[in-house]
């Protein structure tokens, strides 16, 4: 019975280790530097210790002397170190606050023509198939349904429902989202839809047959549809599919906003 239990626990531990490795390997983009890091972390502490010993034995005669002084010095340094750590923590808090304020300022300057309400992302969707977010402002702050939400680099989505202190935002990468857009160079209109394939890309559909789609062209909202104001940057054309039937072609659009790192947004009030 005990043996069976031990085997069971061992199995669970092995499964956890395998899971951690799967997660790491499936998410790390550059595996070479990862392996380098792991190898360094395994070898370097011992290597450092050996080098330290070698240096001491070779060149330093007073290695084993004056231990009392060293201890005192060590205590002083420890006290100083804890003071410095405290200051560092305070500075880090100030730095974070400063960065947030700077972000708000940059957003306000960029979209100065709109009256905006700043907000934090407090929750992201728990499903792999939909991409809504929850922000920390609600009806108390003047938020209403169908208000547009933007971030530093471009469009995020729109408010689908509001409570007193939170609001649910349907992002543009959600598969049920469809935005009427225009290509900035030739002003041809397209519809941008979210896809399951990639959370950093949209699919630009219903491209007019005579339209000339340019790679890297900026995509902006057209203002048609009654939700999004005109001229908000959505992303840029990454590549264009070329099927046999030209009416089926679509453009892959890279979103301007990095939704994985999204934490500060502005809600357009007017």
């Amino acid at each position: 019975m005990l043996k069976k239990n031990k085997v069971g626990i061992l199995g669970i531990i092995i499964t956890i280790i395998i899971l951690i490795f799967i997660v790491i390997f499936s998410n790390v983009e550059n595996n070479t530097s990862f392996f380098e890091n792991v190898a360094n972390k395994l070898v370097m502490p011992i290597q450092n210790g050996l080098t330290y010993l070698k240096n001491k034995i070779n060149g330093n005669d007073s290695f084993f002397t004056d231990i009392k002084n060293l201890k005192e010095e060590n205590e002083n340094l420890k006290a100083k170190n804890s003071q410095l750590e405290q200051s560092l923590r305070e500075l880090e808090n100030i730095k974070t606050e400063n960065e947030t304020l700077k972000e708000y300022l940059a957003l306000n300057q960029k979209y100065g023509e709109y009256k905006t309400i700043p907000a934090y992302v407090i929750n992201k969707d728990i499903s792999n198939y939909s991409k809504t977010i929850v922000i920390n402002v609600g009806t108390k702050d003047g938020i209403r349904e169908k208000m547009t939400v933007i971030a530093d680099k471009g469009l995020v989505g729109y408010i689908v429902s509001v409570t007193d202190s939170t609001a649910k935002v349907q992002t543009i990468i959600d598969t049920s989202s469809a935005i009427s857009c225009i290509m900035s160079t030739n002003k041809d209109s397209i519809v941008c839809k979210g896809t399951l394939e990639n959370t950093a890309e949209l699919r630009g559909m219903y491209i007019p047959t005579d339209a000339n789609v340019i790679q890297g062209d900026s995509i902006e909202t057209s203002g048609i549809g009654g939700i999004y104001p005109k001229g908000i940057h959505v992303g840029s054309v990454k590549n264009i599919s070329s099927p046999k039937n030209i009416t089926d072609r679509y453009a892959v659009i890279e979103t301007a906003v990095d939704f994985d790192k999204l934490d500060t947004v502005l809600v357009i009030n007017n």
Binding site: V23, N27, I126, N128, K168, S176
Partner: protein, 177 residues
Amino acid sequence: MRKVLIHIILILMLFVVYYLQSNFFNWFTIAGVMPNLFIIYIVFIGLFGNKFMGVTYGILLGFMLDYIFRQKVGITALSLGAVGLIAKLFDKNFSKNSRITVMMIIGIATAFFEIISYIASYIVFSTNLEILAFTKILAIEVIYNIILTVIIYPLIQKIGYYVENTYKENTILTRYF
């Protein structure tokens, strides 16, 4: 009294599952795909609870998730309710003592839940039908849920039999024969 205690434990477990899902597993992903702990939770209740527990918890939890994250209320409630129902069907036809069987049940329940949700979203929101991308995400999610089940299986079994002993005192003997 024991039944009240069980409900309190299940509700506390629900909060743990929610915070794990929305915080930890948001970044602890396999190729960007999260597991779905809610399915494991509902299957667990469906397998060990009484006749209606899985369905009831499924529908209530689904409504909660719909209110928090979805644009329209109902899809998750319906799908999780269905998961509770099939968990009960599995309970009647399969043994829960085998780890392999429980892993299989979790795998089937995950696929069942996501396929229902996806079809419902396709009908309600007219989303693009991306079968290849959906299948890829679903396969990873199923594997991830199965791996998690292997890890938490002893815990599931322990709490599960406590729940089962309380609710099915008259029928529990069948497990030993």
